[in-house]
Symmetry: C2
Subunit: 461 residues, 2 copies
């Protein structure tokens, strides 16, 4: 961090800490816990009100993971340099048409649409309520337990498949022909076992991981047989999430569970090789879908670029490369992050575009030009890791560009947490804080990891 003033770094660290503990985690602790049935309500409107009682297993698992992770954070990290701001320093976010009065829907009064700016203030975090250090470890563990028990009781079938969604009481609602619900079940229990000290959750995580590994090799039991016209493909999401999963199951170097299975190294190496096949080094592009033989596919799926996904993948690889001391992998990961931001950053309106076609055709995804919260979260983490890895000021400067846009557009200073879905111009399109794909995960994970990187840079360990 030679070229970056220490106070700039400290200012961002302090902001990440305050945003996490004052504005984000309290929202979930206050609104999501279902004390009656267990688990979490994850469909929460702007102000925390429930608009659906379904429980989406991806988000139940991710919230268990996040709360458990926060339990494990070193208590000495409690922030002491928090900057305070008054509520009036932050302009109220104007929100979209969806904010019309609930009883006024028949009038379709669209007059309230307008630019959403939470204010460009660098002074400090947006916040939901009175300043405080955030929930205690006991509260976090209690909340994590609420979700872990619910998942344990309701999410997994006898054949190890994990449901996609459940009713409020835990009855199955939907099952996907994919392995991602299973992955977040593993993620949750690996971390919860560490936080709670209850090893039975670790056993559940490991047995489910085994099932996932079997299905990756033979997806037939998932129920989507390959039709005659289909070719075998490789999806970036699979090796990427598996790499992250194995890393999470192992735990940090030095943890008691690290390296206790001989085949972890082999699985990780396989994931890395598979991800690299998606990378076109010459063009700096990572494709979401390629042929199983590594070939490029000239179709909308084959040309699809998801910059946020690539950036997330980039920091998974940086993290892995750091651990296994692979300099060439570090270089590839940096090139992936660089290429995805170069392509995905919207030079006209700012922010990261959701989908692009590598040859410039219109993506088929209707939401291609929207600005979603999670690619921005991933970019914050990736850019700080890239900076720490290289020591080059340009990565920190890029981090600040993305962070400025992110903090100007996503946080909700009035009710806490972040908006998730903005249109291309940065206007809030969906006002809810939690939905089927947004929960207590990307925002707090990014804030948590960004603070970790910034602390390390400051020599705070």
């Amino acid at each position: 961090m030679a070229d970056i003033a220490r106070e700039r770094v400290e200012s961002w660290r302090s902001r990440m800490h305050a945003e996490l503990h004052q504005n984000v985690v309290p929202f979930w602790m206050q609104h999501s816990l279902d004390r009656e049935n267990g688990g979490y309500f994850n469909c929460l409107d702007r102000d925390g009100r429930r608009f659906d009682t379904k429980k989406h297993v991806w988000l139940q698992g991710r919230q268990v993971w996040m709360l458990s992770k926060l339990c494990g954070a070193d208590p000495s990290r409690a922030d002491t340099s928090r900057t305070e701001i008054s509520r009036t320093e932050i302009s109220r976010a104007d929100i979209s048409r969806a904010d019309i009065s609930r009883t006024d829907i028949s009038r379709a009064d669209n007059s309230r649409a307008g630019p959403s700016r939470a204010g460009p203030s660098r002074a400090g975090p947006s916040r939901a309520g009175p300043s405080r250090a955030g929930p205690s470890r006991a509260d976090l563990l209690d909340a994590a337990t609420l979700g872990a028990r619910f998942l344990r009781e309701h999410a997994r079938r006898e054949d190890d498949r994990v449901y996609f969604s459940l009713t409020r009481a835990g009855a199955p609602l939907a099952l996907q022909r994919k392995i991602f619900a299973e992955c977040f079940y593993v993620l949750a229990f690996a971390e919860y076992a560490r936080a709670s000290g209850d090893d039975s959750y670790r056993e559940l995580a490991l047995s489910e991981l085994d099932a996932i590994l079997r299905w990756i090799d033979d997806p037939t039991p998932l129920g989507r047989p390959r039709l005659r016209g289909q070719i075998a493909t490789s999806e970036l999401a699979v090796p990427m999430i598996l790499l992250n999963l194995v890393s999470e199951v192992r735990g940090a170097p030095g943890s008691p569970t690290f390296g206790d299975r001989e085949d972890y190294d082999r699985i990780e190496a396989r994931c890395v090789a598979s991800i690299r096949r998606h990378f076109d080094r010459e063009r700096g592009l990572v494709f979401e879908t390629i042929g199983a033989d590594g070939s490029r596919l000239d179709s909308p799926e084959g040309r699809l670029i998801n910059p946020g996904h690539v950036i997330e993948c980039g920091w998974f690889l940086l993290d892995h490369a750091r651990r296994v001391q692979d300099r060439e992998l570090t270089r590839d990961a940096l090139a992936m992050i660089d290429g995805a931001l170069e392509l995905g950053w919207d030079r006209e309106h700012g922010g990261i575009l959701y989908f692009l076609d590598s040859e410039g055709f219109s993506p088929q995804q209707l939401e291609w030009s929207m600005k979603l919260w999670w690619p921005h979260c991933e970019a914050l983490v990736a850019l700080l890791m890239a900076w720490r890895e290289t020591g080059e000021a340009r990565w920190f400067e890029r981090f600040e560009t993305v962070a400025d846009w992110t903090f100007e557009h996503f946080p909700d200073p009035e009710f806490g947490e972040w908006f998730g879905y903005l249109d291309r111009r940065g206007v809030v399109s969906q006002r809810f804080k939690g939905g089927p794909y947004k929960g207590c995960f990307h925002v707090p994970r990014a804030l948590f990891l960004c603070e970790r990187e910034l602390r390390a840079a400051l020599g705070l360990g």
Copy 2:
């Protein structure tokens, strides 16, 4: 039409005719026909260039239907009052970021985004090329045959399931756990049998319709067993498409196939009763999903309103009510169309919103605020039918409001056909003319039916 000047009506009739035959049908005749493998390329970029060679069966079937329908149009309808406009009278549509040069993608130059206005001219149609009467009946039948044979050869499995998509050569690519591909197969062959005189296609349509009716009663063979937490629901799309399908299979009153199966009346009555259960008369709202017992569901699915869908359903009902002389059904259909337009019309930016939540929550669909071509197409038809049915000038005036916005925003005067996907402000979001869900169907059907209604109003039969 007492209150509406005859020249206004004639001007719109002439415009619909010219748009259909000069700007829309030629685009598909020029770019979609696959002379090598049969069937149609339906993924076509703005200028007609293919961006994918997949063949989506919904669109193959719809194109066969449309071309066959145009074959059957009375040749005396050839337009004689066509207005001519020079190319320069229409401002070039500015298109979105997706229009960046294909080789320049790595620069992510977004500077070309801007409002898309095809010009507010009422002078005449946008067009793709030199003025002409459009393809001959022989050419249309030849093109319909190309698609019908391809579908007959490749689309249907032995168990009567119909694939969702095929490769260019006809090998199966995807199968949905829904009945809509089957419906468009029936639609195609019912009309193609009439256009070609080949009754074997009518037999195929009828046997597939029988299979659809069986699956509506027992969807088990579709492969999506009901999980314990799910409740039985009724989806508006099912009775709605079935009502249209039976009407199409019967043919127009006086046609040789009309009324040749005794149970048609019974099926239609069941569809109408089912659709009516989705209608909340007091609020004027039609819900996409209700409980199978008719109950309202307090969930995002249960609160979902799709105004374009309701408007389309409205004209299906108007058409049916006209035939069976049911005045009460006419009143309900008018109220549905009225309520959907009242709720769905965007008072700020104009155009019809794609999805809404009846209680004012943010819809979960990321594309909720986009302006899609097809709801506008359906509204043009519905409003003219409502006008003809009631004789009330307010329906014609509403038609003109929607038609003005539609013709200002969707047609592409440079390359023909219409853009399909605009953002809330009316800027083109996706530049392609054909994709997995847009083909040779809604635009030409609406123009064809609008001209039919306008001719009838003018006493041209």
